[in-house]
């Protein structure tokens, strides 16, 4: 029966909308707050479906937002903050996964595909003229041509 409760329309899986909360602990310095926002967009709300912690009112997201702001005001750098998050929650918390053995395909796949596709296009463009122009007539075609030249192509 749980199957039937699965959200009704396409986009509903995204949703965790509800009353919208407001962070009371925003950083005073607008530049720091902007940096916090930028970082928070890259951190996953771990209890939500594919939402960053900026977009969720789940308690965990609120806590994580507070942590990000705390660390920024403590003078931590971006990599340090990401490190702190991944040691706690693993790479799962990063919405942009780091490059490692498990994400080789993800990061290098597009480049490999472009190379392969580019090669195929290159071959298609290069190959054709030789093939199509240089093909000699078959015996039957020769005969047919001869007939036409002689003028009795009926």
């Amino acid at each position: 029966m749980k199957f039937l409760l699965i959200p009704i329309l396409f986009m509903t899986l995204v949703l965790n909308a509800g009353a919208i909360g407001v962070d009371k602990d925003r950083l005073q310095d607008p530049e720091q707050e902007a940096r916090a926002q930028h970082l928070m967009k890259q951190l996953r709300c771990l209890v939500c479906q594919n939402q960053s912690i900026v977009e969720s009112d789940a308690e965990l997201a609120q806590d994580l937002r507070a942590i990000v702001r705390e660390q920024i005001s403590a003078g931590k750098t971006d990599p340090e903050i990401f490190k702190f998050m991944t040691t706690r929650y693993g790479d799962w918390v990063l919405l942009k996964p780091p490059f490692n053995s498990a994400t080789v395909i993800l990061w290098l796949g597009p480049i490999a595909l472009l190379l392969v596709g580019g090669f195929l296009i290159f071959r298609t463009i290069r190959r054709k003229p030789e093939q199509d122009i240089a093909r000699p007539l078959t015996a039957a075609e020769e005969k047919h041509l001869e007939k036409i030249i002689k003028g009795d192509n009926q």
Partner: protein, 664 residues
Amino acid sequence: MIAELGHYFLVLALGLAVIQAIFPMIGAAQGSARMMMLGQPAAYGQFFFSLLAFLALTYSYLISDFSVAVIARNSHSLKPLLYKISGVWGNHEGSLLFWVMFLALFGAMVAYFGRGLPKSLRARVLSVQAMVGIGFYLFMLLTSNPFDRLADVPFEGNGLNPLLQDPGLVFHPPFLYLGYVGLSVVFSFAIAALIEGRVDPAWARWVRPWTLLAWVFLTIGIVLGSWWAYYELGWGGWWAWDPVENASFMPWLVATALLHSAIVVEKRDTLKSWTILLAIIAFSFSLLGTFIVRSGIITSVHAFATDPERGLYILVFLALVIGGSLLLFAIRSDKLQAGGLFAPISRESGLMINNLFLSVATAVVLYGTMHPLLSDAFFGVKSSVGAPFFNLVFSLLMIPLVVTMVYGPHLKWKRADIKGINQRLMAVTGIALLAGLMTFYATYGGAIMPAVWIGIGVWLLLSSLQELSNRIKLFQVPFKDSMSRLRRQPRSSWGMTLGHFGFAVGLLGIVGTSAWTIEAQKVMGLGEDMTIGDYRLTLKDVIPVAGPNYTAVRGIISVSPKNAEENGKSFMAYPETRTYVSSPITTTEGDVKTTMAGDLFVVIGESQGQGRWGIRAYYKPMQVWFWIGTTIVVLGGLISLSDRRYRIGTPQRQKASRKVKHAP
């Protein structure tokens, strides 16, 4: 009684689909005209009965017949009429019925308008179309019957998720479905062509309008979904790279590639097997979008375990359709001989490069969506792939694509002169560079990519206009002659110009809103204010409001320029938070004030006690450009669709050209 009739009609439609699938196919193989002829009446009949079944379900929704299980689960007697109707397709079972009804309709349209097609081709197309239909009918009748009754009839229904009670969402799913189903016709043509072993320009001319139609529907569906997310979810976002969004984006990307590669088949009789492959892939993604998203497998494999019967059916069906057609492709595609020759710099090459980047983009979305699942399954590593990844990869991949879009339309078939094009584009390129540099200067210290993208967007925008002006020889011949040339432009070329121009406009909107959105939030009491960008928001009052099936809290907020001495009009914003009667969910109705420069988006949150309220505001530069751009793209598609060339070669020609003449 009506529900039983609906069930009965569904079975009848299945029966006719079986006839439509078997006899025309055998007839085409044996050259039996009588057997092939069976295809048309079967297609009409199948549509007739599936329509009746659909109407039966709609009727049951309208009278709120809660003895029907689907209706009890998803509807509510107090629901406004619009949402009772949209409720018909707003759930698993009903959406399948909607799907198959349009599948049958499109089949009937092929039967009717396809009188000019070679008989065997039409017979085979109808047969394939019916085979897909059988899969859907059986799926519904065996596992997801929309007409199932309940033994204990509830007094009231569960109601529709309030979030979905929004006009944007009434039309979002049906348009997506129409797009998916439209691609089924393209698929049927591709399979029929593989069986015939023949693809020629006439085939492409038949397939193009169907691709275009499906593509227009998909575009509308996706944009409506974004629009809904933007207005309804209260975060000011409109695209989250969520698996379900990606599932609708992939068929769109492939359909876009197909649209372009079919031009090459039509004009130059080459790139055939690639086009066939794209048609198969496009429809495969449609099926994935329909089934897999609903079954929830992308978010969790465990969704299958909760209903193994449906899950198994879906897997088998997908394997048969996708695997079977790819196998057929592998066996038969070498029958398709390549035609025309072309030089490395030519329209053909441009379109191939377009296809390359669109295909890689599709692969990125597919793999990015699947990666968390695969990583968990094969490496035991939980992993997330979200917006930051997709935004990065896409913004890199799209640069060469847009460059191709700048040059492509200027390229001639067979052999083009790149130097000449560069010369013609000199002024346009200069302005684009200037726009990029100015953006860089204005946002100095910020990220560089947005400035690059503004430059590229302006470049595409102007080059598409330049291409049009070249075609009508603006300023080269007397202005009046240019205007008459303009009027004589075929509609399909208008489609291209508008499509690319609208894409550029939308692209600029995407850049603006994703690069420079600002956000502010504050807990405010009455009379307090906060600033965002150049605006000052003052909370004047908060009042309760009663709607038809909800109650709401409405904020009355006055918006004025940030600096009081600046002149500029003040206006009011009325954001709401709604609580629905039938379910505990609340929704936010943000108030959006739109200008060409940007949207001011105001949302009211929950009460913080003591007469204080959380207020959140976003300023989203150029957001409206995205909506305008996509509207232009859709218009371009519709205009192109009305091109009379698509009717040539069919018995409809006479009638059609007369119609065009009479049109104002």
